[in-house]
Structure formats: C-alpha cells, structure tokens
C-alpha cells in the first residue's frame, strides 16, 4: 500500500539547495560532513509547514516564497551609525560578515571573544556542542543554519570572571540587494561568572533579506547570564532564529526576546536545566502591525529537581498582525519540586489582528507547582476611563496603557542602556516620546 511520494520542492527550497551546491564547503571551518548531512535533512523535510505541529501557526513553506542568494563576497559595506550602542562592547556583522573596524570587543582577563572559525580550530569540543540539537530546538531552519553558517562569534567567560559591560552582537543589513545571511554564535559562561550579551537585528524597510541565526548558550554553575534578543529588522525581512541554552546548578539565566520588525520572524528556543536550584526567567515582547507575523516557540526542559522557570510573554498587535506564542514546560520524572510558571498575554488593538497561544504543560513528577495562564483581549476600558477622568486624552491614555503592558517585560532588562534601547523601540512603535 505504501507508495513513496516525491515531495515537490518549492522555489525557495530549490534555491537553497542550489546555493548550497554552489558553496565551497570543503575548506570551511565547520566539518564538511556535518554541513552536508544537515543539507540532506533539510532537503528531505523541506521548509516546515502547518501540518507539522510545532509549525501549526507559522507555515514557513507557504510564507517563504523565495530565498535570496548568499551575500556577495566583494568589498565590505559600511556599517553606518552605531552610536546607539556606544555603551557596551560591539561585534558588528554587516550582511553576515564581521566588521572589525566597527566592532569593539572586550579584552579583559578571562574573557575570550573569537570568530567561529578560530574557535572551532582552538576548541575541539565546540563543534560537537554546536552540531547536535537540543530537544525542542531541532528543525529544518536549524539544519539550514548548520549547512550554511560558517561565521559567528564565540564568547567564553572563564570561571569567576565578569564581563564588565554588555556585549552587543549587532546584525545589520545594509545596501539594496537582498541576501540570505546565516550565523552561528556560542556563549559559554563559566562557573560563578557573569555576563550580559545582546543580539541586535536591524535592516532597511522594504528589503526582503533573510537572517537565520543559531546560538548556543552554556551557563556554568552559579553563573549569572542575561541574554537579550532585540529584533528590529526591516519590514520585509525574514528573521529565523534557534536558541539553545543549558543552565548549570544554582545558575540564573534571564532570556529576553523583543520583536518589533520583520515581515516574518520566529524564535525557537530550547532551555534545559542540567543542574539543580537554577532559575530561568524569560520575558518576551512583540509589538507588531501591518501584516507582520512573529512567533516565539519555547521549550523548557526541567530535567532535574528544584529548578524554577518563569515565562512572561506580552504581545501587542495592530492592523492585521499576527502573534504566535507556543510554550512548553516539560517536567521529567525526577524533577521533583519544580516550580514552572508561564503567562502569555495578548493585546489586540485592531479588528484584523490575530493572537495564537499554545501554552503547554507536560508533567511526569508529582511534587511540583506548575501553571500557565493565557489572556487575550482589548485595552481594559475601566483603566482607560480612569486615566481619562484625570484629564489624559484617549489616545495618550491608550499609549500609556500599552507602554505599561510592554513595560513589564522591558523592566526585566537589568542593564540600563539596553533597557533604554528596547524601551525606545517600544516608544517609537507607539509614536510617543519616551518619558525618561
């Protein structure tokens, strides 16, 4: 009865295959075999579509009609104004290529920041750490990243060391020709070490460039890490990301993902607790309009006892925008005394907007406290009335309430400069001046 059905490749899938065939991977830093195998997996599965449960609300096969070519290898393009990021260290990637002149990398003791190629050469274990996907992170999008990405930043913070200022990895797309950019980053923070790292995405409106990044974060015992992702890409961009994090005993990871830009964006995050008494705090913020589509899919793996995870996802949707949140907390049989909480809230400002939420619990241990909540609706009329009764005009009152709604996530960013940058995006989205 079984017949093998040849899958028909979409134009984008075919283009990606062709680009891969035209790439010289033999002398690349990454293992050629690993890259080839990833491409084969991608070709077998194709772009994920809505019949795959994890992609139910983000049908990439339909949405991604074309895949722009890999960037030209000619002269490097200028990064442009970076003054907004002056407060922290910077690793600047222009159209996928590191711009060393525009970058300012930390040089403190115990802090090593190297390119992916250098790091792979220096650390034999790194390739292994990057190649195998964590549960909940595997996807054809990640396979594409594995197949194509041979650039990125590898950051290592030694045991007990502190990164004195946040390191910002700035992905900036410039020029007028769209391209597909693939980057792979890794952050390893040693025991008792502290670091704040931010990934920033920017590019021109109206240009259909694609960015596909993957990042692996390892948080050592008792370490404290903040990882921020600020996606402010151009209106026609595609931004696809895979985030994998492993948290050691007693450590704390704060993961913030703010999405303002791109026609379509998806963050697929997988976080695993591998040591007890660790804490994960996640804050997600999406502010979208037009026909923007943003998806945050998160998998939290309580593999060991006594860990705490808290996720707060806030989505503001105007026009015909669509926001997707899928969050799954898994509590393994041994993970007693887990405290897992997830809250997702959507604010719909317009008739045509759509919010899809799928907060999931999968629990195999009995002595746990887990829960999730989900709400969606319009601005609370009672609050609006109260503000107006104090003389605040309606439009200003609305902005104030939306800012407050978003603010609960923004305020989780401890670093003042980074918090200001994200708050600035929120304020610009609302068209208001930031009240500092």
């Amino acid at each position: 009865m079984l017949t093998t059905v040849e899958r028909v490749q979409t134009a984008a899938e075919k283009a990606l295959s062709d680009y891969f065939a035209g790439t010289d991977i033999a002398d690349s830093a990454r293992g050629a075999e690993v890259r080839r195998a990833a491409m084969v997996r991608f070709q077998e599965q194709g772009l994920p579509h809505r019949r795959i449960e994890e992609w139910k609300y983000t049908d990439l096969r339909t949405a991604m009609r074309e895949a722009p070519a890999l960037p030209e290898t000619g002269d490097a393009l200028a990064a442009g104004d970076l003054s907004a990021y002056a407060a922290g260290y910077r690793a600047v990637f222009v159209n996928g290529r590191l711009d060393t002149a525009a970058s300012e990398l930390p040089e403190a003791a115990g802090v090593t920041v190297t390119s992916l190629a250098e790091a792979l050469e220096a650390d034999a274990g790194l390739a292994e750490r990057l190649d195998g996907a964590m549960e909940g992170a595997d996807s054809p999008v990640r396979d594409l990243n594995t197949a194509f990405a041979d650039q990125g930043m590898v950051i290592a913070i030694a045991d007990g060391a502190t990164l004195d200022r946040p390191l910002q990895i700035i992905h900036r797309f410039v020029g007028e020709a769209p391209a597909s950019v693939f980057l792979r980053h890794a952050l390893r923070v040693g025991d008792n070490a502290t670091a704040t790292v931010a990934e920033v995405f920017e590019g021109p409106d109206g240009l259909a460039y694609h960015v596909n990044t993957a990042a692996r974060i390892d948080v050592g015992t008792q370490a404290n890490v903040t990882y921020l992702r600020l996606q402010a890409d151009g209106t026609q961009a595609f931004n696809l990301a895979t985030l994998e994090a492993d948290i050691g005993a007693g450590a704390e990871l704060t993961l913030i993902a703010a999405s303002f830009g791109a026609a379509l964006s998806r963050v697929q995050a997988s976080v695993k607790f591998s040591g007890e008494h660790a804490i994960l705090k996640h804050g997600g913020l999406k502010m979208l309009r037009g026909k923007q589509h943003a998806d945050l899919t998160m998998f939290v793996d309580h593999a060991v006892p006594n860990c705490v995870s808290e996720e707060l996802e806030k989505t503001v949707l105007d026009d015909a925008a669509r926001g997707v949140f899928q969050g799954k907390i898994v509590v393994r049989p041994d993970a007693q005394k887990t405290d897992g909480r997830m809250m997702t809230q959507a604010l719909l400002l317009s008739e045509g907007a759509e919010a899809d939420n799928k907060p999931e619990l999968e629990i195999y241990a009995d002595d746990v406290q887990c829960g999730h909540g989900a709400t969606s609706g319009q601005i609370d009329e009672t609050l609006l009335f109260y503000l107006r009764s104090r003389g605040i005009p309606e439009s200003q009152a609305r902005s104030l309430l939306i800012q407050a709604f978003a603010g609960e996530v923004v305020d989780e960013i401890e670093d003042e400069a980074l918090r200001g940058i994200v708050a600035g995006h929120a304020a610009r989205w609302l068209g208001v001046e930031l009240d500092v």
Binding site: S389, A404, D435
Partner: protein, 253 residues
C-alpha cells in the same frame, strides 16, 4: 457652579431608570453632602457626572459653569476642572504613580493652553500634595494603586485632587473601607481644599465622614431623586432615624 435639572438616567442596554428627575444646585465655594441608602442612585449619579459610557442620560441636563457637562468627554471634563474621587480606584499595573500624575497634570495644562511643568516644579507640587496626604515616596514609585491598601488608594485619590486643584470635586463614598485614622487624613486633605470658588460634593452612605467634612447643605437621595434638603443637622437626624422613613415617604408620594 453645578446645576442638575430633572436628570433621568439608566444603565445603557437596560430598561430600568435609576435617576428619575434629580435636581441639584451647588454654588461656588459650597460643600454639599448627598446621603442615601443603597440603591438610591448615588453611584449612578457619580458615574454620570464622571462620564462613564455604560450609563445613558435619557432626560434632563447638567450644567457646569453654565456649560453642558454631558457633552464633554471624560478627559475634557477633567481639564475643565471636574474631579471625581472614585469609590473603587482601579489598579494600573506597569504605570508608576509618578508617571501617571505627571501625564495627568500636563495633559490638563495642555488642554487649558498652559505650559507643561518643568520636572522640578512638578516634583515640588507632588511633594506638597503627597506630604499633606501622608503618601510616601515609595508609594509614588509603585504602579498606580497596585497592591495599595483600601486606605492608601483613597489617600492617593485625594492627593491627586490636591495636586490637580479642580474647581468641582465629587467624592464618591470616599469614606468606605477607611479606618478612623485614614478617615482623618482624607478629611483633612479635603478640608484644606475648601474655600474660594471650589465646589465640593460628598456622596456618602454614612454620617461619619460629615463629622470631619462639615457640609453646608445636606441632601437626602431616595429612588433616584433628591427628596429632602437641609443644613448639616439633617445628617445627624438621619444618623438617628435611618433611611427607612425616606423610602416610606417616597412610596407614599
């Protein structure tokens, strides 16, 4: 200052009329108390004056300084100098009290074509108002009313009143949920705002508050109308005899 003539109102989308021809005149500089049993229409009156959308005025008019108050949006009423101290002030997570106060004060000034206040000026005014009402700096930093006790919320309302300096203040059951100490602080705050041209309407179920805010005129409200008006002694009389007589009187009429 405030003239209410033959006011009829109901909850939108419902048939039953709650205010049934209410008349009330408050002159500049006067303090009026409106007392009445539960269900007499007190909260409907305050909601209509504040401009809550859930209520519909079916007849009559409300004039404020000679202008039609009902025509104004809630924020326009506030800018024109009408202040409502709510019975149940809402909690607004994420909006710091200080941010809210500044937004409100400047919005009102802007509507009146006045310049926005500089931050030091604003801070000075807030400090003045908050000290009077025993509102701590810590409370001002917290999100508006979030996690405030009942007394703290009411103090915050009167503090806003002191800051915004309205011409007409309406206090809706401001005494409910207050212990005696909080009641004194709130009453002192209100008394300091008395005088000049400012009109104050105190809506309350109990006479207790009127020991501290002594009214010039007391009105008894029953079944959607003012059924009796008199001096401050009327409140004491009510304290003794209760509202039963008024419901009966009204039924007979």
């Amino acid at each position: 200052m405030l003239e209410i003539k033959n006011l009829h109102a109901k909850v939108a989308e419902e048939d039953t009329e709650i205010l049934k021809g209410l008349d009330l005149t408050v002159s500049a500089g006067e303090v009026h108390a409106i007392m009445g049993p539960n269900g007499s229409g007190k909260s409907t009156l305050s909601n209509v004056l504040a401009g809550k959308e859930d209520y519909e005025v079916t007849d009559g008019e409300v004039l404020y300084k000679g202008e039609d108050l009902l025509e104004l949006e809630p924020d326009e009423r506030a800018a024109a100098g009408v202040f409502m101290a709510f019975q149940y002030p809402v909690e607004i997570p994420g909006v710091a009290t200080m941010t809210f106060l500044k937004a409100a004060l400047n919005a009102q000034r802007k509507a009146r074509d006045e310049d926005e206040l500089s931050t030091p000026e604003f801070m000075r005014l807030v400090k003045e108002a908050s000290t009077k009402l025993n509102v701590s700096q810590e409370m001002l930093r917290r999100p508006l009313n979030v996690g405030f006790s009942g007394g703290e919320k009411k103090r915050n309302e009167i503090m806003q009143m002191a800051l915004l300096q309205p011409s007409l203040c309406i206090l809706d059951e401001t005494d409910s949920g207050l212990d005696i100490d909080a009641l004194r602080i709130v009453a002192d705050g209100v008394n300091q705002l008395r005088g000049g041209d400012r009109g104050i309407v105190v809506i309350t179920h109990y006479q207790r508050l009127l020991d501290y805010i002594v009214p010039d005129v007391v009105h008894v409200m029953s079944r959607g109308r003012i059924v009796r008006s008199g001096g401050k002694e009327l409140a004491l009389e009510l304290e003794k005899s209760g509202y039963a007589a008024y419901s009966e009187e009204d039924k007979a009429a």
